[in-house]
Amino acid sequence: MENNNRKGWLYLLPAMLFLGVFMVYPLVDVLIYSFEEGYNFASQTYTGVGLYNYSYVLHDPYFLQAVQNTFILVIITVPLSTGIALLISVGLSSIKPLRHLYQTVYFLPYVTNTLAVGLVFMILFKKTAYMDGLVNLILNFFGSASIDFIDGPYWAKMFVLCFYTIWVVMPFKILILTSALASVKEDYYSAARVDGTPKWRIFTKITLPMISPMLFYLIITGFIGAFKAYSDAVALFGTNLNAAEMNTIVGYVYDMLYGDSGGFPSYASAAAIILFAIVLTITCINLLVSKKHVHY
């Protein structure tokens, strides 16, 4: 037993070392940082302890902009992407020929580099002095004037950001939902068919309740993921997100930490903890709601 004790810990040691240094310690540290006022990165000294960092961050217009952007992004992309993914998955599971081809194609964005493909989206949407870009070509075709989606009005930029975010998160959601749909036993559908249940009723009364756990899982992870949005925005609008009015909370944290406006780990920590609090709250609300509606 004694021997086994030591052996057990020995096997765990590497993992614990890594986790200790790069997860547990930072977790404590970030809390401490967030309360240390006037921290100086070079000398690693601080002047006091208090809530000033939080107050600074909460009054920083860039942060408020980032919070607004993030919330808009979350509210638009989570329901929309989940809904479209559900439609696509239902469509996918109702067909036989070509199903694998479609599934493969739909999964492609998952394995692509967000930054790289973001550039393609930028080119598709961008309006330059010489060329209006492909999307504008389509808009013109429908009689609308060209819009600069990358350097233009706020709503246009937000639209591209949401569009790209949905494009990026879709593969995961489609995959999860198609496998959830496939796991519903064929017998239930046969039983419903023999009873002459209309398609729509089968969907709302059988399919939806059966996949509701997965649906809620997707909504919860969707919320968490969308709150942490960052690289999509960088891909579209470049690293100077504040100037583009397109910063997100995570982007704000990194900007505070590093880069042209960086060097303020205390502010970054405070912002990160605020983000964590928001995500935690939303997740708890989600879990409470799902308890009421998920039937298992």
Binding site: N4, K7, G8, W9, Y11, L12, P14, A15, L19, F22, M23, V24, Y25, P26, L27, D29, V30, Y33, L87, I95, L98, Y102, Q103, V105, F107, P109, V111, T112, N113, T114, L115, A116, V117, L119, V120, I123, Y130, M131, G133, L134, L137, V168, V169, F172, L175, I176, I224, G225, K228, Y230, G238, V253, Y254, L257, Y258, P265, A268, A272, L275, F276
Partner: protein
């Protein structure tokens, strides 16, 4: 008789209409997904001159050129970014496997005091977003003078609690009898792990490896924080760098060539391991 035929015919018509709607819808989304890829490849083979001469984007080109690919490798150190990412990806994944396999084994197989407590702590770590710990890690790595080194890039990216959990669950499914049989034959724990558990759990290990490789290949935030020397840029940072400082001039075709080059490895990997990757992601991957 006639009544039945009518029911039958209307059911068939309805099915056909529904099929058309479904296929149209699915194809539309398919185009939505594929179009950016098409556009990126198309643009990458248009010559710089002809691209910039376009007032209206052209949907095809009659004179494809590979010049942009040459530019992408010669004007910017794309090959360097590429090799860096390869080293980073392979090293991170390898070290991760070395670290998590014994940990998962200990949790699944060994009995020792405090195991349950530690495991609960591990599980609770799964909920911690990486954004929260990045700040301190940044400071730590800076203090260790590891900025612009591979160690600095790799070390904080190594461990994933989730993969330990996934592997532990898989290990735990192996019946105890196998372990006792091996013990009776005088097999050491380490040998049992290597000769019995790992081969049995190969699918899970492959899944974890692939997921980690994808994650590494696409990682952006941490490398951006920790490197400002181009010699240590990964592809994501490289692309960002190309976008902002690029080829000395706005050379979109060359940029697209670079995008194609860095997208190809994962797409190829995906096409080869399509089934494994999709199963793996369905079992527990998330993006980011």
């Amino acid at each position: 008789m006639n009544r039945y035929e009518k029911i039958e015919r209307s059911a068939k018509t309805r099915k056909r209409i529904l099929d058309i709607v479904v296929y149209t819808f699915l194809t539309l989304w398919g185009i939505m997904v594929l179009f950016p890829f098409y556009w990126m490849i198309l643009t990458s083979v248009k010559s710089y001159g002809s691209y910039n001469a376009e007032r209206i984007p052209a949907f095809f080109t009659l004179s494809p050129t590979l010049q942009n690919y040459m530019d992408a490798f010669t004007t910017v150190p794309l090959a360097r970014y590429f090799v860096n990412t390869l080293i980073f990806t392979l090293a991170t994944t390898a070290i991760m496997l070395i670290v998590i396999i014994p940990a998962a084994f200990a949790f699944a197989r060994l009995e020792f005091r405090g195991k349950n407590l530690v495991f609960t702590l591990f599980l609770s770590l799964m909920m911690i977003p990486s954004e929260l710990v990045v700040i301190t890690n940044f400071t730590t790595i800076t203090n260790w003078n590891m900025r612009n080194t591979f160690e600095g890039l790799i070390l904080p990216s190594v461990v994933s609690v989730f993969y330990i959990y996934l592997l532990k669950e898989n290990f735990a499914q192996i019946p105890n009898e196998l372990y006792y049989a091996a013990k009776v034959d005088g097999t050491s724990d380490l040998k049992y792990l290597a000769k019995v558990m790992l081969p049995i759990c190969r699918p899970t290990i492959i899944t974890i490896t692939i997921l980690k490789v994808i994650e590494c290949w696409n990682s952006y935030v941490w490398p951006r924080l920790i490197t400002d020397n181009k010699d240590y840029f990964l592809v994501s940072n490289g692309i960002q760098e190309i976008r902002e400082n690029g080829f000395g001039r706005e050379n979109i075709p060359a940029m697209m060539a670079a995008v194609v080059v860095i997208s190809v490895p994962l797409v190829v990997l995906f096409l080869i391991f399509r089934k494994k990757i999709m199963e793996g992601v369905a079992r527990g991957g998330t993006k980011g």
